[in-house]
Symmetry: none
Subunit: 225 residues, 2 copies
DNA sequence: TTATAAATTTAAGCAATTTTTAAGCTTCCC
DNA sequence: GGGAAGCTTAAAAATTGCTTAAATTTATAA
């Protein structure tokens, strides 16, 4: 994750850079608005941290220019001004959030995480080994091969993978995938496990689903050695 | 834009509702966490405003449950607690922003606008493959061929494309395109899907709309390989 | 306003797929 | 070896989606 800090006070800028690099961010610094805007527009950052009061071009102006250029990178405002008008003004100019100086580093981190979360969320696919499933698109891939599943097959596989590395008992499965909340002596699970295994096998995902005799089934994440 | 306020103090809830309705939001209120969570999960809101201290289920727990259900609706926290831990805790639980009580209505509005902005901005490239639609002019083009659609056909296609790469369930479709908010066993969706497919086919946009049996429909952006 | 056209909805039959059942077979473990 | 648990298969049952045509509603123009 790549951040850009636009801040003229070297003390604060350095303190932020150090702290953020400790959290494994890649951090660039600009000491005035003009060069900051320049950097922001010519590089792909994941987040901008912008001080309100900076030379050459105010923070708010930087913000506006970035948005005007069609760039939707999250922008976090850093400001000593905390009167109401300023906050409203800053947010309306296109900032995503602001934090008042002096601030605690922990809160800054939390707010950065909020902004970056959206980015991470986009890829909310579930996976085990070379198999990945995407509930949003109802797609299943074994590597690059797409596998076509029926709704029940999909629901079962999704349940197993959401609970990977844990044994899924028969009763849990029948409860969650079939929504049956009482004892029943159906062999429908066995049948569907067979269906799934057959399709996975054909796509090259051999013995992904393992049987725990007397208990249920488990999907294990292969340990990467 | 549809908002849900989860707040137990009727005074504050009412004040917010009135103010927000004046700004043309559609506002629902829940007076405890449990019923709030229920509403949030069964309806499609554009934003949740959640008080931290509410009966039945704390705001933070509501937040967590909503996220756990895979729902990424923006959540704005309303809190009298303003110690650092609380803020960090709330944001990490999945909230997008928070505002301390007492707050000024103007600031609340500004923060709501920030959260909603993303929604408006995100998907205004309304196209999929060689098909592009323009809501402003109600025009649809398949490459250079214009396709003439009836209002309902257009609304359905627009909804599918706004949600491209995501499965649109029948209930969501009936809710958003037909504005029917209860169970009904109409086959009107099927009929319109047939209409759309016929027209798209004639214009050379073959199987743009795919059926996910048992779930709904999806328009996939062809990956450019 | 009325007549006409267009758009939308309902309903029903059909086709295809999915789900369930049931029975025989295999494997595992005591 | 025997019994329980799991696997496989095939056929029956149920569900779902597609299509069509007719009925109804809405919009438009005379």
């Amino acid at each position: 994750m790549r951040l850009l800090i636009i801040e003229d006070e070297p003390g604060i800028a350095g303190f932020l850079k150090d702290g953020l690099e400790e959290e494994y961010f890649a951090v660039d610094i600009a000491y005035d608005g003009k060069s900051g805007l320049d950097l922001a527009l010519t590089n792909e950052y994941d987040l901008l941290i912008v001080d309100w009061m900076i030379p050459a071009l105010s923070g708010i102006e930087v913000c506006r220019q970035v948005r005007k250029a069609g760039n939707s990178v999250p922008i976090l405002f850093l400001t000593a001004k905390d009167t109401l008008e300023d906050v409203v003004f800053g947010l309306d100019a296109g900032a995503n959030d602001y934090i008042k100086k002096p601030f605690e580093f922990e809160e800054l981190l939390a707010r950065i995480r909020v902004q970056l979360r959206a980015k991470n969320k986009a890829d909310n696919s579930l996976s085990a080994g070379s198999l990945s499933i995407n509930p949003a698109t109802h797609q299943v891939f074994a590597g690059l091969n797409e596998i076509t599943l029926t709704p029940k097959e999909f629901a079962l596989l999704e349940y197993l993978i959401r609970n990977k590395d844990r044994v899924c008992t028969r009763s849990r499965i029948i409860e969650h995938v079939w929504d049956i909340h009482f004892d029943s002596d159906t062999s429908v699970i066995d049948v569907y496990i067979t269906f799934l295994r057959r399709k996975l096998e054909a796509a090259g995902c051999g013995n992904l689903i393992q049987t725990i005799r007397g208990v249920g089934y488990i999907v294990r994440q292969p340990s990467m050695v």
